[in-house]
């Protein structure tokens, strides 16, 4: 399945109509969750089994599942459900599809509300996220449309768990995030992608954060801003970062909300 086929076959158009019809029937102020999956060999029995399985996740969970055979797409509507709960239900749906060896490609989730109804281009964007690259994880359509001018952020931190977390958070806000685990890898990325912003820890293997700041300042990407996100809390460390030209310093443990607000201001 590819985007062209989707467009030609009118899946996006039919989904657009389904979602907006559904939004007129749900309780005002609530949302309509949507799960889409690229599948093959799907039968009505599978559909029934899937609905039963998803019904077990929530006491009164209403689901409307449909298999679009021509496009090989499974569409599940969850009237009255938020994006968070839809995402959670998608985990069960994915488990079912993988166990039954029905999954043929990506999966994506979204939620649309009556106050912000789904536009045709939103639905098209959502359907296209089903097939973005070689994605194996469930794609989350947050409404931020990928744009060629999306700010690029190189994020350098040895903590892989933190990189995972911020990669998802910032990705959902429309940033093109490139993670790196050490200073050398980070600088290679800075040279190759010439990012708008670098987030770096100070305590890094191979090349420390101070060297990263200095080399970024002296590189072709010298206009890119550097934000330090660090475990080090000694005043001298913080002052040194600013002396070297860091645009901001945030200490760990940090508030992701605050970090996101600061990045938004710096890239405005």
């Amino acid at each position: 399945m590819n985007n062209t086929l989707l467009a030609e076959s009118g899946l996006a158009q039919r989904l657009y109509e389904h979602v907006n019809n559904m939004l007129q029937t749900v309780v005002p102020g609530t949302e309509c969750g949507v799960i889409a999956a690229a599948v093959h060999g799907f039968s009505p029995a599978h559909l029934q089994e899937l609905e039963n399985r998803l019904g077990m996740e929530g006491g009164n969970l209403a689901t409307m599942a449909a298999y679009e055979a021509k496009e090989g797409a499974l569409i599940i509507l969850l009237p009255g459900q938020s994006l968070a709960f839809t995402h959670f239900i998608a985990l069960s749906a994915k488990d079912f599809l993988k166990e039954a060896e029905l999954l043929a490609g990506g999966m994506a989730v979204a939620a649309f509300s009556e106050s912000a109804p789904a536009a045709e281009e939103d639905i098209a964007g959502f359907v296209s996220s089903l097939n973005a690259g070689e994605r194996t994880e469930i794609a989350v359509y947050s409404g931020y449309r990928p744009a060629p001018e999306a700010p690029t952020v190189v994020m350098i931190d040895p903590n892989a768990d933190l990189l995972d977390f911020l990669n998802v958070r910032l990705g959902l806000q429309g940033y093109d995030v490139r993670p790196a685990h050490d200073g050398k890898e980070g600088l290679r990325l800075v040279e190759s992608v010439q990012p708008d912003l670098v987030i770096t820890e100070l305590a890094l293997p191979a090349l420390d954060g101070y060297q990263v700041i200095q080399r970024v300042r002296n590189s072709r990407s010298r206009t890119c801003k550097v934000v330090v996100l660090t475990d080090l809390t000694v005043e001298q460390d913080i002052c040194k970062c600013f002396e070297l030209g860091a645009a901001d310093v945030i200490r760990k443990p940090f508030s992701p909300k605050e970090l996101e607000a600061r990045l938004k201001r710096l890239l405005a």
Binding site: E137, I138, D161, K257
Partner: protein, 398 residues
Amino acid sequence: MWIEPLDQAASVLNALGLTAAGGFAALFLLRARRSAIAERMKMSLEKHQDYFTYLSANIDDTDALLPPPGQLSSIELRAIQSKLLEWIETIGGEYRGKLTALCRELGLVELERKRLSSPRQGVRLEAAYHLGVMRATECTGELLQFLAKEGRESTAFVVGRAAAKCAGTLEELHSLLLLLTEYHPAAHQLIADTVASSSLDPAPLFAELLHNENNEALLAVALTGLSGRNCPETLGALDRLLMSGLKEIRIKAAKVLLQHSHLLPRERISELIRHPDWEIRAAAAKAVGEQQLGVYMEELVRCMADEEWWVRHYSAKSLSQLGPAGFEALCEAACGAENGESRETAREAVLEELDRSEASASREAQHIPTYNQLNFIYRRILGETGSERLASTTRIGC
């Protein structure tokens, strides 16, 4: 007759060989087991990658985060726990609360609570650490009991920090302080840091201790904990502690008092500058410069003749921080002080300030007028040119 000793040696060698082989086999098995667990953890993390994306993407939703659907094996639960604990330690704010609630929902708090009763010390310590990260308020009592058993062991601080993170009331923090100071009375800074890792504000507890406590270790921890904090309700107690018979308490109390210089009458700071303890005189001289209290310039000039090097040093440094007027007083001390040590301390501070000002001027043009002004004062009072200054800098450096 010669065969017997050889037989004995062979037996010993055989036994040694067998022992070594057994040791290597055990090491190999341990390593293989560890690698197998690490591999299974890695696979579990990969299996639940979608779940971690769900958590990251929806952590700011109004609803609680839900545990992963389906049954989890023990290794999967451990893998999820490792990820959640890492996030809790790095992420603050309201998200931390949602992650700790999820840990509770996953049964991780109960699991670790049971591990606190393990016969193995390593397991108990790990459980305590995990409970601390998860802010398991309901386990504070058990952690305090564990801490009491640790006594003078250095691992008491692992348990203590966990108890501090879990503490839900100031009474619990107080109990923690009592236990730590009982067994580690000299570790003031470490105990203050441990208490500060609590999500509660310990300042009211420290203030209460200053008012009601006479125990030296508790007072020292409270004063250390209040260092750098604004806590004006302690002023009365600090005044009382300045009269303490314990020198360390007097010094720490003076340092905390000097943080509130804007609330103190002028005479109070003058008394501290003239205090019999040289440490307090030095602290007061230092505070005058840091807080730009120009009204005490004359006291600082008098302190330049103090018998203690630290008092002279901080007085000179503070004078250099009081703008051109302070710098002028410093230059006058450098050429007119009665004793050689005072002149030398003042001269070092003069040259240091000139160098610092010159470096600022070379970095940013807006600092050039200040540097010119200081340089003019220097030449007018000490009568030296720039090259002479450089020569004397070298001389001092030698």
